[in-house]
Amino acid sequence: MRQVHTLLKRAVATGALLAAAYAVASVSSAQDATTSTTTTTPTTSTVKVKVPPTTATPKMIADAVARSKARHDKFLATGTPEQFGSEEPYTPK
């Protein structure tokens, strides 16, 4: 608790200096925007990196279900839900 309060006091004390640096980016970037209204011409161009399957196959769905089941079983066994980013990697058996 004391540590938290100390950190907060430090934050408040340095706030005046930080505010100038962060206000635009963090809190009120949109409010402080000074750009005038512009619109670009709508286009239909796309960014295509690869051509993966655009239709789901039964195997693809089965693999997804297997991944889901494995994680669910793990959760049931440990009682601990997946944490941030911990889903990967997983290789279907």
Partner: protein, 768 residues
């Protein structure tokens, strides 16, 4: 989430201090004194931007005084007892007529009645007029009248955001409303303190600066397009929010069949001082494909004089119970919770007329009333059920630090704390909306002896089921799901009391349901979760005043027994068959990858999000890479209208539960893989599906009538805000929507556009 009242005083103080510390961080961040980056550096946030599990700070940290999560102190009740206040009915809005006004090649719509003087509604946004103005910007008549910056209308410019099918659905009924500070006297119970103006931001009629609860009720009907003008009158200064809520909004009509520009989730939020015009078309799905000559009387709306107005489209896709709420990306949870739950909107049709007496062979005569041609609500009652919380001063409280789920400890019905509602001994229809941020529910009715009271289930997410389903307890109800039920109180006598009981416990962290309780268990309540148990009491009485005809009194003599003329027919609609699809898709909702919502160069989100915000939730299409939400990325593209698709949603697993919402179209629930599927879902049209832990669902859907940019997301709004959401693009056969919509980037000075990325796995045009 909430510590037990049995906890020691020292434990209560500890939890309160933790909340105070969090509130202090919120304040420091909101006024720019500290950034998330600082908090990470100081060890208050984890590297991924989450609050560290530290006692004295996190609600989930262990402490020396208890082995369970610290929790948050209970909301003070100020002596309020359950079932001591009357349940408020929603605030019924009266539309004004709209009349056409020719302006060159355009036809505008002028507001009549009390809204005369409002600028006419236009097909194209006033943003175009603002941008075209030549002269001193300070004299631009189309500028924001409050800030004098940017256009007065938040709808983006260009034909992409013009009202689609403006001439097909030229508005006949007009509504003007404001999202703004609450007025004095807004409270959740007479014993509880007034909410401060910036604790609750709710909706008021007209262009006003104060508003009240409960939310609105709007009666729509097929054949009467509506123009809803929404003013944003929240404080210009973003810091004036009492700790949560963003003063920017985009109002989503969940889940009407509207053009993308009026769906309210195209990324076009608008700012204080501006308005946004939404064309709520009342179009019936498949109007371009089925019953195009409008010859089917079942595809119709009431004409107001006992007759019908036929409309093109498929009567099997008639919608009923819907609602409208904010969809400001990255801030939806705190805004909706704060009161940006504008309205419930009931659509009335030939079959679902809202008149129980009129017998014309089309009207189902469901419980409603008889004084009005349509839309009677004497016996047709909207229930918005949510869970709220207040701080120790009784002011509305939201924990902006949670990324898992937010649970309240005050059961609210139409924003009133555990009220009662008087009923006559006869049939009633209840339209139940689950409107918490993260809580799932499971409802049953209990009589005075604690025995279950049977009822009939007639609609799921606003879609009539083919045959009524007899139940004694509802299935789980996730966030945003709507269940319509009919309860027959005729077996009771005046003086009897029946209670609506929540039987579903939630996990402390808000991640999903924990377990179903028996009715007896639920009635005993839960000391750790006051939202378990009875939350609404029905009191059977011998007379009630009419809502539909205020001069009338409804009595047992004139409204019950043989005078209860309502019906629940054995057949409510017809089944839409499952057919071979044009394509199948797979979407996994999970928790993988590092989050790619930000532009790798600028570090900004589209639209803007809080600095340092984490993105723990992600989505994969067809088994490819995981992505977190970016409005400038199209994850699914539907290349043309009318194609039938089968889409499978899979829960990424790991102990989470997600209610997934598809905007704009309903899907017919086909299966849940190897899991069981309840009768209330099997082959039933829905727009929200609970994935359940380790679950899946497959549904059939086809898109049509409109084009543009829509979204699909988890409706645990906390998950949604932390990027469990993706954009889908529907291409049309005509108009600007034959191309992909440029992404709007709203600023107070106007909207900028960027060209979106399209995931190749979501774009069938790339397949050979």
């Amino acid at each position: 989430m909430y510590i037990s009242t049995d906890a020691s005083r020292i434990r209560q103080r500890e939890a309160q201090k933790a909340r105070d510390n969090r509130a202090e961080i919120v304040r420091a961040r909101s006024i720019g004194q500290v950034s998330r980056r600082d908090l990470v550096r100081w060890g208050i946030f984890t590297a991924s931007g989450l609050l560290v599990c530290k006692n004295g700070l996190s609600p989930f940290a262990r402490s020396a005084y208890a082995a369970i999560p610290t929790g948050t102190p209970r909301s003070p009740l100020s002596g309020a007892q359950k079932f001591t206040q009357r349940m408020p009915r929603l605030q019924l809005q009266t539309p004004v007529p709209m009349t056409p006004v020719v302006r060159g090649a355009e036809t505008d719509a002028a507001f009549g009645g009390q809204f005369v003087g409002q600028p006419n509604a236009r097909r194209l946004s006033y943003h175009n007029d603002f941008s075209a103005f030549v002269g001193d910007p300070a004299t631009n008549p189309f500028r924001n009248p409050v800030t004098n910056r940017g256009p007065m209308e938040g709808r983006p410019p260009t034909e992409f955001f013009a009202h689609q099918r403006w001439n097909n659905f030229f508005p006949k009924a007009g509504y003007v409303m404001s999202w703004t500070q609450c007025a004095p006297g807004v409270k959740f119970h007479p014993n509880m303190p007034d909410q401060e103006p910036n604790s609750v931001w709710c909706y008021g009629t007209g262009n006003v600066g104060q508003a009240t609860l409960p939310p609105f009720l709007i009666k729509g009907r097929y054949g009467e397009p509506m123009l809803a003008r929404v003013h944003n009158n929240t404080p210009v200064n973003r810091e004036e929010n009492n700790g949560f809520g963003r003063n920017e909004q985009q109002l989503h009509f969940h889940n009407a069949h509207n053009g993308a520009e009026s769906d309210g989730a195209t990324g076009a939020h608008h700012f204080p001082g501006t308005f946004y015009d939404l064309l709520w078309s009342t179009s019936l799905a498949r109007r371009d494909k089925i019953n195009t000559d409008a010859s089917d009387r079942r595809a119709s709306g009431p004409d107001g004089n006992g007759g019908l107005v036929n409309v093109p489209g498929d009567f099997r896709e008639i919608q009923g119970t819907m609602w409208a709420h904010d969809h400001r990306f990255f801030f939806t949870a705190e805004n909706v919770y704060k009161g940006n739950l504008a309205a419930m909107i009931n659509y009335y049709s030939g079959p679902d007329r809202g008149n129980e007496q009129l017998n014309d062979g089309v009207n189902l005569r469901l419980p409603s009333g008889k004084f009005l041609d349509y839309g009677n609500i004497d016996f047709d009652v909207n229930l918005i059920i949510s869970d709220g919380a207040t701080d120790q001063n009784g002011q509305y409280f939201f924990d902006v630090f949670t990324t898992d789920g937010f649970l309240g400890d005050l059961p609210l019905v139409n924003f009133a704390y555990a009220p009662f509602f008087e009923v006559l001994p006869r049939k009633y229809r209840f339209r139940i909306l689950a409107a918490g941020m993260s809580r799932f529910w499971k409802f049953a009715l209990a009589n005075a002896n604690g025995q279950a009271v049977p009822f009939q289930f007639i609609a799921n997410d606003g879609n009539l089921v083919v045959n009524p389903i007899a139940l004694t307890s509802l299935d789980h109800q996730g966030v945003a799901e709507r269940y319509d039920i009919v309860v027959d109180f005729s077996r009771f006598r005046p003086g009897d009391r029946i209670r609506l009981v929540n039987q579903l416990t939630m996990r402390d962290d808000g991640r999903g349901p924990d377990k179903d309780l028996t009715l007896a268990q639920a009635l005993q309540g839960d000391k750790d979760d006051p939202v378990i148990g009875a939350i609404l009491e029905f009191r059977v009485v011998s007379s009630v005043p009419s809502v539909d005809a205020p001069s009338q009194t409804l009595t047992i003599a004139n409204s019950c027994g043989v005078n209860d003329t309502s019906r629940v027919p054995l057949v409510l609609t017809e089944q839409i068959p499952i057919v071979t699809p044009v394509r199948t898709r797979l979407v996994e909702f999970g928790r993988s990858g590092g989050g790619d919502s930000r532009d790798p160069v600028t570090g900004q989100c589209t639209p803007d999000c809080p600095e340092g915000m984490p993105f723990p939730w992600s989505i994969k299409v067809n088994g490819q890479d995981a992505h977190t939400f970016n409005a400038n990325r199209v994850s699914l593209l539907i290349p043309k209208p009318g194609e039938v698709e089968h889409i499978t949603y899979v829960n990424g697993g790991g102990g989470w539960d997600h209610p997934i919402h598809l905007h704009f179209e309903e899907g017919i629930t086909m299966n849940r893989g190897s899991g069981t599927i309840p009768a209330t879902e099997r082959l039933v049209r829905k727009d929200v599906w609970r994935l359940r832990a380790g679950g899946q669902v497959t549904f059939q859907v086809q898109f049509g009538e409109y084009g543009g940019s829509y979204v699909n997301h988890c409706h645990n709004t906390v998950h949604e805000d932390f990027a469990m959401l993706f954009r889908y693009q529907l291409l049309s056969n005509v108009g600007p929507q034959v191309a992909v919509t440029p992404t709007p980037n709203p600023t107070p000075d106007g909207v900028l556009f960027t060209t979106p990325e399209i995931l190749p796995e979501g774009d069938p045009r790339t397949s050979t």
